[in-house]
Symmetry: none
DNA sequence: AAAATTCATGTAGTAAAACTACATATTCTA
DNA sequence: TAGAATATGTAGTTTTACTACATGAATTTT
């Protein structure tokens, strides 16, 4: 082991050194150049055979290229061969096959997180984490597609030992909001930022003295106006899907961020609480 | 040579099969997971030594992963390693600042989707889409952290006009499962793949004649055994968070895929149904 | 042009690596 | 606690990678 040039692309080296190679080595070089994909699965004897030369010549070639032996050549061949896949956001076409659909949908979901990562305001995240860490009571409000996000959040924070509840019933939301007070925290989740019931509940909660946080895709919207902490996510939806799918993924990722942020803040208690709930769940498993 | 799965990323395979590995194999898997760069230059005996197991165990691991032997594993490791992605999965440290936390958590979430994209079986997706498209009745079962995923799915498919319900109550799941019949479809969601109640419900549903689909991170697990269609997701969790977060993101992305897949299959009706439900919601907005 | 020298290549042998079959140990089950 | 099933290691075999050397071809020198 331990060669300095070992990370250079072997195929390129092969070509640059070609002229200085002996005839038998050139035969091997030729074969490798034409069948790189095959070579990485060949043994030295098999390759020598295919090229009509001796194993020794193959080894000599490896050394000339700067490798310690055939294994190292193969490994470096394999490394250089991978085609780095690029992920591009693409619209779904009606005649896409399953492969295409999987690719496009999942890439859109990834990009939603990537885009959100870029625009998410660090200061706002910090403010949200601080508020939640100290919360007496924590509530999540979501309707329709945002309801599962709210429940996901509830589940995460419950595990952290924070008194927490999620509502997807607008009446319950308003009722509960009116009973909040100082030190309580509400998180309203609305993709559009214009869900009337959520806005109402946030306003009521704020009036009652609670801290209001929103997660939304719309920077200037009724929901952001009604919130003191604004977590803005970004997601380019596939136009094929007229409803927000990618943004829900982004919302959940933001929940993850809050969850970890809070966890770190409450380190020690949290570790204990997680252990407790995990133990309680073991009986539910095989 | 000649294995069908050989192009899947071995590191990802390692993780999806981890739970089904023997202890000595897990030791090797751990080492590979932490030192992938080193392993591609190690001989089988050196690796066995470092892991404190026998060479035979290393070979067994290779075979479990679907390779013919250690050489093939190494080659495929090398091929998968090159991805010089700008986003790198990194563990959370206790003294990370907000910026770092946001970055690490969201990258972990993105990677979960990326990894899942790589291993998700196209054929299984197709089978799931076909079954759901024709389903008389569609049910989603999830408990704990998987419950929000089930509800998210319910929401999506309801919008597509498919009779659909999600349960996060194990009693309700079993009851409902027993009342299913031919033409009905059940989707069981379990990260670990070992949630007893979900497995029971799936078995009952299968006995009743329904098609059973699972979404899980564990390729060989009670849940996959109980399902005729297996959707395997991959997610490397941040060790800081002892519960699955990234995998839930991946699960949701798979739901998105199914949703779009089904939508395309049911093109015309779907568009109409979406219009209807959207109109019905407009009254709820400003 | 023959001898000497250098260089290219293959042969045969060796050490190590990869793999197999089996024996032993461990764990699970009844 | 016996028996079965499973997991793991041991020891032996085959294959691979590599080395040292021998042969032969090409080139140079006298």
């Amino acid at each position: 082991m331990g060669n300095e040039i070992q990370d250079a692309n072997p195929l390129i080296k092969l070509r640059t050194l070609y002229q200085s190679l002996r005839v038998s080595e050139q035969k091997v070089a030729d074969y490798i150049d034409i069948h790189p994909e095959e070579v990485i699965y060949l043994s030295i004897s098999a390759l020598a055979d295919k090229c009509g030369v001796s194993e020794a010549s193959v080894i000599r070639l490896c050394k000339v290229l700067g490798y310690d032996g055939y294994q190292e050549l193969k490994i470096n061949m394999a490394r250089s061969l991978v085609a780095p896949v690029k992920y591009i956001h693409e619209e779904i076409e009606e005649d896409d096959d399953t492969d295409k659909i999987i690719q496009k949908v999942m890439v859109a979901d990834m990009k939603a997180i990537e885009d959100t990562l870029k625009i998410l305001d660090r200061k706002e995240v910090e403010r949200a984490v601080n508020a939640i860490s100290k919360a007496r009571k924590l509530e999540f409000y979501g309707l329709g597609g945002s309801a599962p996000v709210a429940f996901d959040a509830q589940h995460k924070f419950l595990r952290h030992g924070i008194p927490c509840i999620a509502y997807n019933d607008s009446h319950m939301q308003i009722m509960s909001a009116s009973m909040l007070g100082k030190g309580d925290v509400v998180v309203g989740i609305s993709h559009s930022g214009s869900t009337k019931d959520i806005v109402d509940s946030l306003n009521i909660a704020a009036k009652a003295g609670a801290e209001t946080i929103c997660i939304t895709s719309s920077e200037k919207s009724p929901v952001t106006k009604a919130s003191s902490v604004k977590l803005i996510i970004s997601a380019r939806e596939l136009s094929y899907r007229p409803e927000p799918m990618a943004s829900r993924i982004a919302q959940l990722s933001v929940i993850d961020v809050l969850s970890v942020g809070v966890a770190i803040k409450r380190e020690r208690e949290v570790i204990n609480n997680l252990e407790k709930s995990r133990e309680a769940l073991i009986a539910k498993r095989y």
